[in-house]
Homo-oligomer: 555 residues x 2
């Protein structure tokens, strides 16, 4: 972006079997100084579809973005559903690397087609929110393109700024949410990437018979899987009442409780049925061919489209964690987050801290919405909040702040979910449930470390392939069959053991970046209050000793 | 402070020969978890006079404060002149340790006398600035007490909040400035410490003849020393024109130049003579018996007391670094910083970043003063700025920010002063010239590392003793004679070599805390712009390779 030039390069041979998260980590470690400023010219943001992207496997089109995070100051991989990953896969694009930055503040769009890429002026999009950007770009480039876009906070380089990705309806409702990818794209002055796969076709599997058998096997598995069917019917949000009422690991009022007395108003069967009765839809796929269909379309009481992808994390962090039980208010906040391009999880944790600072009352959804607008509009207060929970706590002198490595703890309380807590501590991403969450409390610290390790390795594999966690790992679809999918698509003969070695290598590569970015192993810690304040009603505390956490990396 | 109880304890035998910085580092490593929240109940702030405090040696009364820093998240020792250190030494107090914190937000004063210490209610002082607090407390406790106080930003736990210490006129003009000691004292809800040494006497030297000889030797040395006489006449500020015009290491307009075209209006002989002509005084001692007398009393044009201790760093950071050439405006800002309890250095760097963010123009002293008031008054904008340069840069999306480990680079540009640059990188304090600055550019990176190492070791020694850097090290008074001072006062037979081993041990103890607080060796880096942007007019860049910086700790 310094010279506003596109270079289309063949992928080096050594990258042939790398994809998604693994490829971004490799490129970052090769090309980006770990101590560079995340918003400076030396940082890069790498968009890489998974190794199976463009194939005809279900739910294989997740797109990874890798960058040094302005939120954590460490390595970051964030990934997203929607349609962009699949299109890039079909186009044979292994990665889009944004590097450098212009001297001025003009904005640009990058258009990717089968013929290459071009950089187009985009000052007309300055200050537009994501839905407006998507509308404009679809008018110019056609309804069938995929879009990666940033809102005004991304332009301003706010650390909680996301990159939105369009869903199957062309709505920018899916987000590369965590760690500030929108800020890094903003500092490169790229408002949007337009992906037009006209003329591209699905990538055929190298072994057609094996491919067909696996497609059939997976379809049968999903049809027979109880969890899959529940998620099809009620989405991820369906599980909220269980997390609250049974597992007691829901964040409530800035992590002061694990159970929300109004959980059935913001999640679970009752809420979904209420919303469906009002005209919303569940069982929506966010990417072509997905058999999990965990997404949704939420309409307001007048039947007008309000938002899509009202997720468990959204309802938990913007609802229970703020003491808010109004599902339409939560939906409105989610839409604002989508429009502005802001991370729901970081937002919920930040507003929780803001409430502790006396700047809003728990349960006051009008104030919460006003605060989201402060960030979206870039007011002075919004400049603080837009930097996330850790900076907000700094500004207001708050010492009880749910972050690890500067990133907000998501909606799985680590006191109950002790293995998820180990993941929060050890993941190079900071607190991130998608790096490996385990809902059930493990019996011993050693078991918690073991469970986190296996989950993080599997997640790393899945993230390299572009597969969706929800549609595979969360359903416990056997990793051996995932291995067969790779072999069928790519004509390889890998074992699950060898895939695990790849997963481990990815984790270690990410870890190496952080060790060189200023993070000592002693940065792998949860905030002290998780160890000291029992979470009602379970009264659990996080009790995995530092020495056990230290043992995580023994592999 | 959790139970509002004082425990007076004998110093453990193993602390007998520890003092000042060395003692605070030892206590922190023994008693404070490096990963604790700096504003939480597990942090402690330890005030410790040096080993020579209370003796009759000149300039031996500097007081150290040790704590985990809310600014850097690492270990911190900040030290200060004024009268408190000497009084604590005479009282035989090796350290005051503030620990725990009350459940409510009431404020307290701690009074220390020869009979022990008491905790007194102090809600009447809420929101008062330091000069007002000092006036109130002297009315109650007498004119001769020493005071350690915080202003409103300290009560609010702002990361650039200082602890003020009264000078020989009872003015709170000397500050434990760096790293946020005021915030830590604020989170303990201690508004002030009152030190009354009535009934206490100087600590006699164990070897009276040696003591007398050394006093005489030092007095002769200072009288004959050209630098000492210049500093007596013109203070530290006297050197500003040389730093600008000859050394080219002055920070100008957020470190975009090393020379200020109006340097003679904000420092140097001409400025001092102008101010003196207007009724200000130079050659003032900040602690009893000091022979260096580098301080001053600045009066406004009507002859009214405005501020004391208008320092080089103040004039450089609040003047040149902001493009401000009005010495009275700088003095007014310095007074505001003293009143609110804010670090001049962090302030100057923060406002420099603020200017780059378009929130003020370089040279606009009225706006700069208004911004200081925003912090003092705790406005929303002030909440950002009060967190220092790194957080301000985060909030406004600025990637060119002069900080190391979250602490602002002081008024010695590391591109020219390459050994000072090594100190900024390696000091466990973050960017700190008082950890070991070397004005002259060293010929090679290896020489720069060597010079920084020797300076940091000597500084650590001097900081353990409570001696003033300006009055000893900066004058090149031989460290062998400093060793003799220790031996005469304490009845020891140390060699300078053994003192150096103690200095090294202190540095390593501090380093160990940081390694356990999340900082990897790779955190020892200057911001990239110091390597990439030549500083006019020298056109120097910081060019000490990372590998050389890594070699610093080989001792």
């Amino acid at each position: 972006m310094t010279t506003l030039k596109v270079a289309v390069e063949d992928s080096p041979p050594e990258y042939e079997w790398l994809g998604g998260r693994g490829l971004t980590a490799r490129i970052l470690n090769r090309e980006v100084s770990p101590t560079c400023h995340p918003l400076g010219k030396h940082n890069k943001i790498i968009f890489a579809p998974g190794l199976l992207a463009g194939s005809r496997f279900s739910a294989s089109g997740r797109l990874s973005a890798g960058f040094k995070s302005p939120l954590t100051q460490g390595i970051k991989e964030s990934n997203v559903g929607g349609t962009a990953g699949e299109k890039l896969g079909r186009l044979g694009v292994k990665a889009i690397i944004l590097e450098g930055q212009p001297d001025d503040t003009k904005l640009y769009v990058i258009k990717v087609t089968k013929d290459g890429a071009t950089i187009l002026p985009a000052d007309n999009l300055t200050g537009l929110v994501n839905y407006a950007v998507a509308k404009e770009l679809k008018t110019v480039h056609g309804e069938n393109v995929s879009l990666l876009t940033i809102g005004p906070p991304g332009e301003r380089k706010a650390s909680m700024a996301t990159v939105a990705c369009t869903d199957m309806d062309g709505m920018p409702s899916r987000h590369l949410g965590r760690g500030g990818p929108g800020a890094v794209m903003g500092c490169k002055r790229v408002k949007a990437i337009v992906i037009d796969d006209t003329g591209a076709k699905p990538i055929a599997a190298r072994r057609e018979a094996a491919f067909k058998a696996l497609v059939k096997d997976y379809a049968t598995f999903m049809d027979e899987n109880k969890g899959a069917n529940l998620v099809r019917a009620y989405g991820q949000m369906g599980g909220l009442t269980w997390i609250s009422g049974r597992n007691h690991s829901l964040p409530v009022r800035n992590f002061t409780s694990g159970a929300f007395e109004e959980a059935n108003k913001i999640g679970g069967k009752e809420t979904i049925e209420y919303l469906t009765g009002q005209g919303s839809q569940w069982g929506i796929a966010c990417m072509p061919g997905c058999l999990q269909c965990c997404s949704n379309i939420v309409r307001d009481k007048e039947g007008k489209y309000l938002t899509s992808a009202l997720e468990y994390e959204t309802a938990a962090m913007l609802g229970a964690n703020l003491g808010i039980d109004d599902i339409y208010a939560i939906s409105a906040m989610s839409r604002l987050d989508d429009d502005y391009g802001l991370d729901d999880i970081e937002m919920g944790a930040t507003l929780g801290v803001t409430a502790d600072a006396g700047m809003m009352s728990f349960g006051d959804s009008a104030r919460a919405i006003a605060l989201v607008n402060e960030i979206g509009q870039g007011t002075i207060l919004g400049r603080i909040l837009g930097e996330g929970a850790a900076v907000t706590a700094r500004a207001f002198g708050i010492s009880r702040v749910p972050v690890v490595k500067g990133q907000a703890v998501p909606a799985h309380d680590p006191r109950v979910e002790n293995a998820t807590g180990v993941t929060y501590c050890t993941s190079p991403m900071g607190a991130d449930h998608t790096a490996g969450d385990i809902l059930f409390r493990q019996s011993t610290p050693a078991e918690a470390v073991k469970a986190s390790k296996q989950a993080q390795i599997n997640v790393a594999i899945v993230d390299c392939l572009g597969l969706c966690l929800n549609a595979f790992m969360d359903r416990a679809y056997p990793m051996e069959k995932v291995t067969e999918m790779v072999n069928a698509q790519c004509g390889l003969d890998l074992s699950y053991e060898s895939l695990q070695e790849i997963g481990k290598a990815v984790l270690k590569e990410e870890r190496a970046f952080n060790l060189n970015a200023g993070f000592a192993p002693s940065a792998d810690r949860l905030p002290e209050f998780f160890r000291e304040e029992p979470s009602p009603p379970s009264d659990a505390v996080f009790d995995v000793p530092d020495s056990e956490i230290g043992s995580f990396w023994d592999f």
